[in-house]
Amino acid sequence: MDFTFSAEDEAFRAEVRAFIRDHLPKRSGQDQMDVEEGMSDLPALYKWNQDLHAKGWVGFHWPREVGGGGGTISEQMILKEEMARVKAPMLGLSYMGLAWVGPALIKYGTQEQKDRHIGPILRGEVQWCTGYSEPGAGSDLAALQCRAVRDGDDYVVNGQKIWTSLAMWAQWMILLVRTDPRAPKHLGITCLLVPMSTPGLTVKPIKEMNGGAMFAEVFFEDVRVAVANRLGAEGQGWDVTKDALANERSSIADVWALKHRLEAIRDLAARRTRRGRPAIEDPGIRQRIARMETQVEAMRLNGLRFVTKQLRGEPLGAETSINKLIRARIEIESGRLARDIEGSFGILAKTSPHAVDKGRWQKVMLSWPPFVIGGGTPNIQKNVIAERILGLPHDV
């Protein structure tokens, strides 16, 4: 065991810190879930994206040949950790483009597709959304039914997608459709790249329980997509959307976001009272805070074990689901704990003029579901752990 970094890595860390000192935009967002606040100063974020891109830090884990940064696993972790430590905005504006589209393009795209899309994603010029989930295909994504039929040089798409994040702002969608209804369900799926301006495509925002709308339903009525916009071969769609690039898996950015939140909860507990004393002196409150701190610390150290496997070139499998489960617990419990510390003020909605900390804690309490449900619910994570790590039988 050795928790020190090489001289090269430490030099890189110093470079990141110097960059942050010179370029970090002022920002009001308190939590990672403040997407709306985080997007409020678009010119500053655009400048941030350009500055990052000049360093090669947008798409940092992508190969240099395609314009990525070619960052090593440890450099990726350092970059994310240093950025998260200072609550920096995301490492690139084209969030879904960076998370889903770029990696798929790099592995399966034609030269023409790469030339057309990767640059704008890295420069933050184009927003993407992902057309994956459907009303009848959530946890069981491979059951998707949105249909595409070949017609000359086009596919004609009919059907519906749902829970499509950022669809209202996106110019492009990476879409999974069923092209062969007779094939086994994972094999009949094809991936298409679709301009959101295509006739027949309609976006309908979904209002969430916190009052905001980051998701949408997307409807397809005879939407024509050129075969040239197919990513990978017909029937290869399921594989296409699996990120196969060497992305570090420490979950360090999430860990720092949670650490910041717990720090703010301690601060809240020092300002609110219970039975006439600061809430932070209340034994019950102290137990709950310390237990969550312990879980975040475990999450950090679990992540370092995962990264160690990556650094050693060992296969990393389902164990990263462990941190997703821990994160889900903390996302939920932190909102509940903050509400309890607020006491009677916990009944106030975030828009109330009397709301504590401008309603931050109400937002935390009402905004965890996308982080907990998206990308696999806790129940799905438990299935993954039970089946792939413990070897228990599949339940379907």
Partner: protein, 373 residues
Amino acid sequence: MDFGFTPEQDALRAQARRLLDQELPLERILAWSAAPSALDRALWKKTAALGWAGLTVAEAHGGLGLGAVDLIVLLEEMGKSLCPLPLAATDLAAAALGALGDGAQQAAWLPKIARGDVVATVAIAEGSDVPTADGVAARAGARGTDVTLDGTKLFVPDGQHADLLLIAAREGAGVSLFAVPADTPGVTVRPLVVVDATKPAAEIALAGAVVPARNRLGAVGGAWPTLARLVDRQTITHAAEMVGSADAALRLAVEYAKVRRQFGSPIGRFQGVKHRCAEMLCDVESARSLVYYAAWAVDHAPDDVPSYASMAKAAASEALDTAGEECVQIHGAIGYTWECHAHLFYKRGRQSHVWLGAPDEHYERVMTVLQHG
């Protein structure tokens, strides 16, 4: 950055696993727990010959000179087997001698410990609390060039098997530590009847026991700062055993859930069972990460030790207490029969949960460190 083990540590783990599987299968632990008898000295000598007893003892004194991380590799494996050998207690005594003893004291005891000729332990606690300086009421009084010891030490790990007792006693304004051979007149060691027979503990009554003043380790009344660090070490090594036990309890439950069929299917197919197993794995791996880091901190980041010892113990306590309990439940009715091994893990969990501090005490310390550094 490397949060993993070296090939040597992997080899040590494999060696421990082989030996424990051969010598102490759970059937033997089960039989032994029904009628706990004396320490198996032959087995202790055999492990000492492999270097276990002297693992962290300096090479100059016949040990391997390894660190806390190497030690917890062994202890985690011992925890999986519920191995009752007094390794953690003996290591703690060796660490106390290494930290407080002078050259003569170390030369007198450490080689014998490393060879397996002497089993040793440290007696600090007297009451229900996590050991503190104020909690030491046993007294040391000067009598010429000798010291007399009076009082009662409780919950002394493996006290009934130890040849050498390192006893904390109040002397002057502070706490001193004395090396006391177990056969010293005035020393009475009584085994405690405990829930988990595989984790022995003893009461030590001191009634005018006399040892030469040269058996004092360190300065008069000056042992506490070192003892406080040793309590943290003990907390971490115990948490390492607990992580091993929790892992084994989970595996036992999982293997049963794969073969036990009800409603035409292995019960491990039902989410009521498999999700509990997944949650247990999450808790076991988290406790494991905390234990590994805490053990590393012992030798490399001493400032981190108090808080991480507490986080590790709290997490390990919760993980094992739950895993033992679920292991019984997932086995159904067979799970609470004597023949099934589940109760061994359940008892280990219920006992270890409170020994050296229940989670609430450790969370309180975590909070104190967060607030005051």
